[in-house]
Subunit: 340 residues, 2 copies
């Protein structure tokens, strides 16, 4: 099969890879309908995260089940399924508490390389969720968004306790940040402040339910949020970047007793204990337990109540993955979908 | 009046200080019944926190109202009252959300020096809570504990979401840690692991409701908590020390999706962002909004349902404050009460 492989920073190639097969009796193999490039794929692409030799890439996937192992009972060949970046058993105590991405049996999907024609999915019954039927083509981008960026933005909004009566600020205007705006709106937030300086992203944020746009960053961004909230700060701040600046911006823009939901994968972040102590904020986040939200998100998409697929503003065939990486790296695209 | 003043590290003297008077119309002046030495008083006493010249000490107080300003409406002379280390208005949006120690009008009590015969309390209506009547002498230590260490331990337990069905671990066996055990028990926790290596403190922890004692610290302490919790970690961990080691011990002893409540004043703590991200814990804490809990705590003490005053294992007259500091500094006493 064809699949994307990162050979060195900036060097992604779509090449022949071995076809995946059932390894464990709990595995499934799916034929992908679409996959995409994640903001987190850009860390190794930019050489900020090092990779050990040629690495298959991608961890976002939707597709049709091709084959299942002997112990798979609920997932069937022919079903259209959505999964996420961690395989999980959906039965352990941690999964039952809603933290599938810390499942005691979790397996990271990234190394399996979802930017490809086929993908082996471990713990298929616990990891994959089937749609009611094979969806029409125009819904594919939205289901693909549910696989990571929508689920991640949703977790950020839940972790920040976005909801009725709350003012929510979102730090980061990538796909996750934009979908955190959508999530906050769905969760009933009263006011949603999108922090963005890019016109096209501001436009999508407003479509997704943002009520205010703040273009300033850092201390100026914090001051702007405070100006909009009687000097107190937002009740809920979603951090969707993962840098020192964005984390401090999120913490400082939150009122005492408020909640920071952080979902940007932390890179070289260290939090000052004393400032955090006196900030009085709640801090929660990490790798989103997307699996927890998939049934609800699939329902919202299937019934066309949300349209998260709009974050894909570039669509290319899988063979042009290198171009997709380049466009995202240069911020010419919010997020690139690869049709398989 | 007589009052304790820190002149230099290790040098606390009880000397004549000016009698406090009503300054703002919202002030009250109280005649103290008792006061005490806080773990946080030891930071400047040990020279770890620097002080600018001679500093009145103390921020824990109970006593009888002597005089009130012209705008004080609910607090009356003759009432026995309990207050805490931040004065608060109890009416602003932050107070109404339960975060009195971040009140928009808050004033730190420490600089006013509660280790003294009299104390001026700003924002008296919002800060002080009266007991049903002047209590009998044997209840004084418990009401004094409510002023800080009980309220702080209680906030730690609430922030860690201690409650029915939860396994709670407590890092730190000072007065706050011990009272966090008491709080977790009152909040209905199923299992309470006290981390302590001192026999007398272990004994009090068990009296207060601890079900398990762990004597190990750091990584070994984390491993011991995991051993007691099917390898997952505790649902709730209360951090009551404030050092880098104790914070990391608390975070690492918490299961994914669990809650760390941290109330030890952070000193030279920096939290690694990436580890925190993947830990999946909730982190919340800071200076306890003791005022929020005072009505409930006063009720529990008045009706003799809890006995937090047992943390005072040394009682001296105010004039011997220097001896009280020395005993706590050398860990000969858990906490020293000063009768006024």
């Amino acid at each position: 099969m064809r699949g994307a492989v990162l050979h060195a920073p900036g060097d992604v190639r779509v090449e022949d890879r071995e076809d995946p097969t059932i390894v464990a009796p709990t595995d499934a193999v799916i034929r992908l309908s679409a996959t995409c490039v994640c903001g987190s794929d850009l860390w190794p692409y930019r050489g900020i995260e090092t990779v050990d030799g040629p690495s298959p890439m991608g961890h976002e996937y939707v597709g049709v089940v091709e084959e299942v192992g002997s112990e798979v009972t609920t997932i069937k060949p022919g079903q259209f399924v959505v999964g996420s970046f961690f395989a999980s058993d959906n039965t352990c105590e941690i999964c039952r508490s809603g933290y599938h991405s810390s499942c005691v049996q979790r397996e990271l999907m990234g190394p399996l390389g979802a930017q490809a024609e086929y993908l082996r999915v471990p713990l298929a019954d616990g990891t994959l969720v089937a749609t009611p039927d094979v969806p029409s083509d125009d819904l594919i981008p939205s289901f693909l968004a549910a696989s990571d960026v929508l689920g991640t933005g949703w977790f950020g909004a839940v972790a920040a306790q976005a909801g009725p009566g709350r003012t929510v600020a979102v730090v980061g205007d990538g796909a996750v940040g934009l979908l955190a705006v959508l999530a906050a709106r769905q969760l009933g937030a009263e006011r949603i402040i999108a922090m963005s300086r890019h016109t096209s992203r501001q436009k999508l944020a407003l479509e997704y339910g943002a009520t205010d746009i703040v273009t300033e960053r850092g201390d100026d961004g914090v001051a702007a949020v405070k100006d909009l909230t009687d000097g107190l700060g937002a009740h809920s701040v979603i951090e969707a970047v993962g840098t020192q600046e964005s984390m401090m911006q999120a913490i400082r823009a939150t009122r005492p007793g408020g909640h920071v939901g952080y979902v940007g994968v932390a890179h070289d972040v260290t939090l000052p204990g004393e400032e955090l102590f006196f900030s009085h904020v709640h801090l929660h986040g990490g790798p989103a337990p997307v699996r927890q939200y998939l049934p609800e998100l699939i329902d919202l998409i299937w019934n066309r109540r949300i349209d998260p697929g709009k974050v894909f503003d570039l669509e290319l065939p899988l063979d042009q993955a290198a171009e997709a990486y380049r466009a995202m790296d240069e911020r010419q695209a919010i997020k690139a979908l690869l049709r398989v």
